[in-house]
Symmetry: C2
Subunit: 169 residues, 2 copies
Amino acid sequence: MNALKVIMSRRSIRQYKKKKVSKEKINQILKAAMYAPSAMNYQPWHFIILNKREDIDHLFKINPHAEMILKAPLAIIVCGDLKTEMNIDYLVQDCSAATQNALLAIHELGLGGVWVSSYPNKDTVEGIKKYYEIPENIVPVSIISLGYPAEEVKTEDRFNESRIHLNKW
Amino acid sequence: MNALKVIMSRRSIRQYKKKKVSKEKINQILKAAMYAPSAMNYQPWHFIILNKREDIDHLFKINPHAEMILKAPLAIIVCGDLKTEMNIDYLVQDCSAATQNALLAIHELGLGGVWVSSYPNKDTVEGIKKYYEIPENIVPVSIISLGYPAEEVKTEDRFNESRIHLNKW
């Protein structure tokens, strides 16, 4: 699909088929994430792929908003390394751009996914770090729940002219 | 172009032709930004389009890293509204996803752009708020410098297997 069409038809998908996602597709998603821009091109991201039921489901124990994860055959924790990017706010922006690239790649590949929050919720961040054995300098910024879509979510018109300002606010 | 190709061939473009960007293309870029996901679907973003030389150039006075802006026919300040999203860290993630969508749309449309930092640099944020007459509750998160590309930047291989972890770190 044309990139504009992918951007505008992407929706958050929370229901998934049981079908597994191939390693090739996972690598394409992670590659897309790694092609995001980053401050000073530091590329501070790391990705934890979860494909074991128990490890995926544990995210719901840590983040009670992550119920969709219980049906997902796959999840990705997008992390940033504070040794590579020492400024937490740039690190969050870099990892957010990487997350968005991954979500677009997921949609382009015929899969569906949703951005689940992690940072800055302290319980979620610390819970993830402990269970998934993440080093001190690594911040889990976001979680992606994904799989083959088992629901269709209609596209709504989001263009909002009142949000556009010219030269001054 | 296929979305994966757009994601992987996008590079930061800092040199621009003098040719103006049409209003139609600007609206497509902003529409793409507005189709980003956001926490709770709050869509807290606002966009200030700068097309007047003086107003574009002023960004360089505020952010000395923004030299590329002096040659850009257009700039966009991506802002977030703290009345719509009260958590600054979610606001930054939402605006980062919107910025990335805009950069991909820019590339798809045959234009070139680069993500210029604003938040959390206090001088940049306060300088922008003052000059562009931005209300107190609005945070300028990022700046996009853009135009028709006058340089070609080679794609580097960014896929890095050492950044991938399975089930535990």
